[in-house]
Symmetry: C2
DNA sequence: TTCATGGCGTAGAAAATCTATTGCATGGCG
DNA sequence: CGCCATGCAATAGATTTTCTACGCCATGAA
């Protein structure tokens, strides 16, 4: 009925075969020799086969034992190995999920510093636009762009988001934008998922709905592509300063207006709230919080 | 330190993965669902990895669980298979050891009947002249040619041995042997291991030592070869009637004298005396005893 | 000869495993 | 729309398994 022998006994058997002695096997397993003897006796009973010939002061494996050992030894090794890997990986590995735009524009440049500070951590980055099931996919930490409302999860605000207007300075120069109304002369680069242009225009400009509707637009379904278009001087982009840090630093984008649009959304760090985090995961979490804290917005002001 | 996860838990895990449900797994293992849940929880703790996402009324394996299962499943199957084989073989198989001469001359002709009567038995015949270690070589039953003195072993007399004189009738005819003294005119086929000719001659003939020493002899170190030589009319053989049954039946050998030499040796059935015999072994033992009981000596008398 | 070694056997202690039960959330069914 | 059946979690207590402690024995070395 039950296809498995007493598995604990197999471990004792393996140790006894390797060491050639119940006593040595017992020492290896941190038990008394008697325990090993009993385990092997139980295995012999279950199999209906003598595995060792007991002689005085020593045991000798039978033919059957040798053959059996040859078969089960690799199986045990396989189990030990697979278990070790999983266990080990989970001790040092951290699986981190975030949206691709954030990964590229904010995280990528900082990742090197994380790995330098914590070389023992094996980082698995999962950059996907979908919101994925943390548990199902064994995600340790995720950065999500949302409003922070998620009971059941442990949620920490990393970066409160805001929207600012950026453009390539060579694109801006001829336009000579001085106040929000002037955007009517520009092209708007619109990201489908963060359609904040209407809000911005309503708040800061005095343009009529008709004139707003007449402004040329190019639509993108990913922030990444919109940012790239802006960098190449295709128009004005209204996006998060966190996503254009590199472009601001290299000067390929500059802020066109000082008018920021506050948003309820932000980049939040989330993880399951039940179990305590493994040390490696806690390390990464803290590092992310620290990095985000240092990543303060330095407004560049309008082009000089 | 310990490379193995709780192995019992692996069995539960495997069942749960296969069935996709703790309850079904529990039914398969003949335990309560709670037991399965606890085992899996223990495994998850040991690995430091969640294996199932508990949802309402169902569980779903994580990615880690799938990967882990893929690795340990073959290992478990290997253990089950190796154990099953050993166990199964030992249930139906019987390893029987005997001297090669006895195997060929007495056992071979009867073996078919044994297998016919007990088709469920898988018989392993080990015909070797050496006396081998029953336990070390996992021999269930052995037939040994000796005097039956073996404490520690369970010993049953199968056939008390005796030595009788046989020859090919065409070899005998011209010699016209009428009484033991007449063997001086013949050639003696001598088996090194059973050197009973001197005893026979001393007991039944009145020949002097010098005349006995003058009789031509051919020496063989195996009974088999001496018997074959006798069959081909090379001389007189002094051997056990049990070994020449077939030749007597076909008439290629006949008994030359009615004088039998009783021996202290015989064919004994031996096995370790500690454990009770497995049913298959007991069956073969009884069959051997019965066969030996029926195998009565039918003296053919001198050639007519 | 004596001693140390390494196995066996047994009884009882310790640990593990299982059962029994309750509670909960939910999906199917009337 | 309410009710019931399902499947898992959590706990405590019972049961089974496993380990230790200890004495015994045979042997080979000092």
């Amino acid at each position: 009925m039950n296809p498995y022998p007493p598995l604990k006994a197999l471990v004792a058997f393996d140790a006894a075969m390797r060491t050639g002695s119940f006593s040595l096997a017992a020492a290896e397993l941190f038990v008394t020799p008697g325990a090993v003897g009993q385990q092997i006796q139980k295995l012999e009973e279950w199999l209906g086969v003598a595995l060792f010939v007991r002689q005085v002061r020593q045991v000798q494996p039978t033919e059957d034992a040798l053959g059996y050992w040859k078969r089960i030894q690799p199986a045990l090794a396989q189990i030990a190995d697979a278990s070790h890997r999983l266990r080990d990986r989970r001790n040092s590995a951290v699986v981190l999920s975030m949206p691709p735009g954030f990964a590229t524009k904010w995280f990528a440049s900082r990742m090197a510093s994380l790995l330098r500070q914590h070389p023992e951590i094996e980082l698995h980055l999962n950059a996907t636009p979908q919101v994925i099931d943390l548990e199902r996919e064994s995600i340790d930490l995720a950065i999500r762009y949302f409003d922070g409302q998620a009971p059941e999860l442990d949620v920490t605000l990393l970066l409160q988001d805001e929207s600012r207007v950026y453009a390539n300075p060579r694109y801006l120069a001829p336009l000579d934008l001085r106040e929000p109304d002037d955007v009517a002369r520009a092209t708007l680069l619109v990201t489908t998922l963060q359609p904040h242009w209407p809000t911005w225009l309503e708040r800061y400009s005095r343009l009529s709905a008709a004139r707003i509707a007449a402004i040329p637009r190019i639509h993108f379904d990913q922030s990444l592509m919109a940012i790239e278009a802006a960098r190449q001087g295709q128009g004005l982009i209204l996006t998060s300063p966190h996503l254009v840090e590199a472009e601001l630093a290299e000067g390929s984008l500059v802020e066109a207006f000082a008018h920021a649009l506050a948003l309820t959304q932000g980049y939040y760090l989330v993880h399951h709230g039940k179990l305590p985090l493994r040390p490696a995961v806690a390390t990464v979490k803290q590092w992310l919080i620290d990095e985000a804290g240092n990543s303060v917005h330095v407004p560049l002001g309008p082009p000089s």
